[in-house]
Every structure is written in C-alpha cells, then in structure tokens.
Amino acid sequence: MSAITRKEVEHVANLARLTLTEEEVQRYTNDLNAILAFAAKLNELDTSDVPPTSHATDVHNVMRDDENRPSLPLDAVLKNAPDHEDGQFKVPAVFE
C-alpha cells in the first residue's frame, strides 16, 4: 500500500473534526506511515476464506418492550453543558 501523504492527513483530520498545526501535520504524516507500514504485516496472511470477527463473544440484537420510562430531569441533563438556553443545548451558529 502506498504511503499516506500530507494531503491525506489533512483530509482525514477534517473528517475527524481536528485542526492540526503545521507541526502536527508533519508528525502525524510520519507516525501514520510508520504505523501503517507496521500494519502491512497483516498482508502476509491469506484471509480470503476467513470470516471477519466484530465481537469475540456471541453478540446479537437485544430487544425490549417500548414502554414509557422516566427520563432524566432537564436540569441534570443540562448541568454539564458548556452553554444552554430555554432547556436546550446552545451552540454557535451553524451557518455564518
């Protein structure tokens, strides 16, 4: 697999909602390349007939009846919010 470029690092940072400094872009380009070179070891294995595992134990959908249950009090829910107004989380404008 080809090496990850600086441009890809910037793209991935945007997807991950991170703003990287110039120094971080350089560092993560180097680090990700080192880690991905290390991960390329997996290509030594032929896994064409191997099913993927997402959970090691038997995991399946857990259903419950859709019943009314008490919810948390509003003041508790908003307690940790950096900003709120009229019982809602408040954020900066979505559009400029």
């Binding site: 909602r17 990287l20 971080e24 070891k41 997996l42 896994t47 993927p52 959970h55 950096p82 989380f89």
Partner: protein, 490 residues
Amino acid sequence: MSLFDKRLSEIHSELTKKQLSASELVEASLKRISEVDQELHAVITVDEEGARRQAKALDERLAKGEGEFGLLFGLPAGVKDNIVTAGIRTTCASKLLSNYDPIYDATVSRKLKEAEAVIVGKCNMDEFAMGGSTENSGFYPTRNPWNPEYVPGGSSGGSAAAMAARQFFFTLGSDTGGSIRQPAAFCGVVGLKPTYGLVSRFGLVAFASSLDQIGPITKNVEDAAYVLQAIAGHDPYDSTSAKVEVPDYLSALTGDVTGMRIGVPKELIGEGVDKEVREAVLAALKQLESMGATWSEVSMPHTEYAVPAYYLLASSEASSNLARFDGVRYGVRADNADNLIEMYKETRSQGFGPEVKRRIMLGTYALSAGYYDAYYKKAQQVRTLIIRDFEQIFADYDVILHPTTPTTAFRLGEKLDDPVKMYLEDICTVPVNLAGLPAISVPCGFSASGLPIGMQIVGKAFDESTVLRVAHAYEQATEHHKRKPEPVRG
C-alpha cells in the same frame, strides 16, 4: 500487621464483628493518599468529604447492627477515572473532560455502592485509556511505587500504582489491550481482566467497545475474586452484557491444581522476552508442576499479527466512539470559534492530547472510503485467526500461561517518541482482548534492579474460576505478592 495487608474477606469479618469501623478504613486510605500521592500522582480526584460522610453512615448502621452487610462493606475503593461516578468528577485524564460531573453511576459504580464500598478516589490513567505508561494522562504522569523513575504501566497505571502503594483497599481498572494486566505486572499487584461481557460496560467511557472490559486490581488473588463477585453479572443497560450465571469465585480457590494442563505458547516465552522475565515464569511453571499440574509448550502461530490487528481495530472503534466529544453536551468547549464546525474542531484539537489524536487519525483513516477492506476488514479477519489459535490450544489445555509483559517497567520518557515501539509492548496482552477471554496477571518475581515481574494466566471464556484457582494456588505457594514497595517518601 498493617490494615492494608489483611485480606478483604478478613476485614469484612472484623467489620461485622465491630472490631473495625468503616471510618477507620477510610481514614487509613486518606492518610496513605496524603502521604504518598504527592510523589506518585496515582489519583486525580479524592472525594474526602463524601467518603467520610459515607463511612459515618455505614458505621451508624453497624452500631445498630441492622440488616445484612454488603460484601464490600466499608472498603475504600479507587476507581479508574473513565468509569463514571455520580457526583464525583470523571475526567478520563483528559483536559476535554476536566470539568465533567457525571449525572449517573456506571453499573459497576452502582454495584460498588450497593455492596457498600466507599469510593474514595478516581485514579489516573492514559487519556481515554490510550497508552501503556500513564504518561499520556492530560494532567500528569503516574510514577511506579517501586522506583519513581519508572512508569507504572498503563492505561490503568493510577489504579495499579495506588494499589501497590496501598492507597486504597482495592481498585478498578479497564482493559482494552492489557490496560489492567500490564500495569498490575509493572507494579507487582494482581490484575484481572474478566471475559468480555461478564462485567457491565455501562458507564465505562468507551474506547474500543468490542474489546473494553472492567476488572479489579488487588494485592492478592483472593481479593480479586472477592471484588469480581461484587461487580460481575448481566446488565440490561449493556447490550453486550452476557446472560450467564455468576459462580461463587471464592469457592474456586481450593489450592488444588492436580492434573491441571497448562499450555505455554512458545511465541510468548522465547525471543523478545527478557531473560529475567523468562526465568521467573519458567520457575513459576516448575512450582506449579511440583504441585501436580503439567505443562508443555504450544504454539499460537498468529501471535505476531495480533498487535497490528489490535491497533487497527481499537483505533477504528475509538475514532467512532470519541466523535461524541464535540463540546455540545459536556466537556470544555473552545471559546474561539465563530460557527459550529469550527467549535467542534477547536474543542477537540485543544482538548485531546497527542496520542488520542494519533489514534483518532489512524482509526478515521482505516475506516475511510477506499481503505476499509484493506485495514479494518483485514484486521477483523486476523482477529478470527487469533481466536482459532486459542480454540486449538483450549481443546487440550485448561489454561495458558506466559509472561504478562516481555520486560519489566521502563523509564519515563523512554518510549514516548516511538509509537510502534510502545505498541509492541502489548504483544502478550492484546491477543486475549481480541478473543474476549479472561486473564489474570500475578506477581512471579523481581528483576535484579528490584522491579516486579508478572505472569499471565489465560482461561476459556467465562472460566474465571479456573484462572483464579491456578493463580491463587501459585500465589499461596510463593512469597512474591507479600513484598511491598518501600514507602514512597514518608
């Protein structure tokens, strides 16, 4: 004999006979914290007032002699700071959550309280449990009580160091790729990672949901069994929680290992393992043999692929799980943004430390369009191969035994600049998480420089009883667990 040297079951019996009080235990714990934690930095938050108040209430009940006494009655606990505790700040050792005051209890926190333990403090860790040295804490690194120039391991380094230094009577950690067992080995204490699904993850701030598991860190094996009894069990709030009967773990500690078949993977005892570590583990095998167990070398052919597979899977899951830290509902919001997207980005960029960003970047990349099959799916397939390695061995053996770590603790700063080198430290522990199995680390010796060595015993899924039995029988025949670090200053 110091209070801290008594088994938890012994303390329980003295408490119920009113020979001890919860307040005495809490004061002993607070005193230890004030004596040693200035240097060790194993603890992030101490709830002095809450702990004293709870102890007083428990003692009042004790005086009246009413009702049943909880299994953990009056025992001061240290809880890793990624397990939410209502009313006690929970930070995940991240600047982003440095002001987070949970409005609910994790299921294990609730179970501790129902068993009448007293949560005295929250333990330091690598930020969001990402790391193996506790140097990635957003606040300060924790020091190893055996030598403060050395790391305590991680990510549950605070929980392990605090246990080794006897700041609490037991602690809880979480283990995604070795984060209970590796620090337990580095700090000379016992650390148990239960089978995936045995202990509820509800309220454990998720790192890699298919791998994370909460477990106890204690001074001996019996205490680990004792604490596990209180925290294990099905929980409707965790959809991956297993519906299994929880056995009586203490009754498994018979001391009898006659006929026990032990497999020792040659990949984890040979090259790459320090001579001192290897010799300590071989001596332990000899000890178990003299007690009636048998052992032979086995092979786990996919061992060398476990670490890269683990880092792809864990980072992918982390990149998704950590998307929630966006400065909307909780956490420290950056105040220099004009619009919503900028606010997300600034909050995350200012709040997360370098290792967390590195893993989010790796995981986002591995899951991004065009790379999913090459990295994420490939790693999931390798995970299947690793599970098969274990299945083959467990067809013929009761437990697997090998070093918990290839080396003893390393110096602070030694591996900080080389992520791949740091990740390779996890070779002995990550296969177990990929397979979801139970495993314990128990002290099995010391290096010439006086640092603890740990060995790991791995069992079949939900067979904690056998793992604990072998660990306990070995421990009772040896003295390693009785050695304590020199009191760290004072």
